[in-house]
Symmetry: C2
Subunit: 132 residues, 2 copies
DNA sequence: GAGTAGATTGACGTATACGTAAACCTTCTC
DNA sequence: GAGAAGGTTTACGTATACGTCAATCTACTC
């Protein structure tokens, strides 16, 4: 038996607000079943939201994320769809590789500043006479 | 002698609009000299904009970027400043390492989908009798 | 010196991504 | 059965990041 979640429960699981999840639904990112009018979320929805939030942390727009999620649902029988899928994926991968470069470069610089800060503190400590 | 650039020239160099650069100025991200009322940008401004746009690609908000740029301008003599700098940098680094994880995970999944698509196409080609 | 090219400062418009409040339903619980 | 708890939709509000004029001001150029 699968444990079903309410909006609030799912929201708390990922530290977002229910409003956010409902908003994503209006944007077509996630579509839970209903019991009456109440939304209920399955494990699959949980996994889907996880994907959404990960993509958000990477700076994707909700529209981009919708596109991204759709990559998972392409009919394996339709060759043309698969071909199109390949080109879309290629573009995404290129973007992410660019981002990876940016990330590495930024990390290098931050760690450099960090080292300088440490050395500055050391110097000052020595100059002030930390042995007293 | 240093080659000075106008807004439009700098904008073209990075494929953004002059409006964008002026907007960044109102946000305190970049502050060129003036000749009369006209903005002129030095090589340092060029480098600074490069940093800004790189951070943007990583999904930083302009406010975050302002903070980020300020990390470069902390007085090396003020130990307290340097201490504060260290904690700020640590947080940034943590964020970026999280992002790196996200990135790697996403890339793995995309490449997986890519392989499946390729295999789907291959199968279909075989089934349709591509030898004829 | 009239025109054109490119710069400037407002000021308003717009898309994205939610926050927030109002009004309304169910569903327990006592 | 009255109320509290948590769900729903609808609608307006808001911060961010610019786009898009409009009006104005030099600075050449012919």
């Amino acid at each position: 038996m699968e444990k079903l979640l309410t909006v609030t429960e799912l929201a708390e699981a990922f530290d977002v607000t229910p409003r956010t999840i409902r908003f994503y639904e209006t944007k077509g990112l996630i579509s839970p079943q209903r019991v009456g009018s109440t939304r209920v979320y399955t494990y699959r929805d949980h996994a889907r939201l996880k994907l959404i939030l990960r993509a958000k942390r990477l700076g994707f727009s909700l529209t981009d994320i919708r596109e991204y999620l759709n990559l998972y649902n392409v009919d394996p029988e339709q060759i043309e769809q698969q071909q199109l899928l390949l080109t879309k994926i290629s573009r995404r991968i290129e973007d992410l590789e660019q981002q990876q470069e940016d990330l590495v470069a930024t990390l290098v610089e931050l760690r450099d500043i960090e080292q300088q800060a440490l050395s500055n503190i050391k110097k000052k400590a020595a100059a002030t006479g930390f042995t007293e």
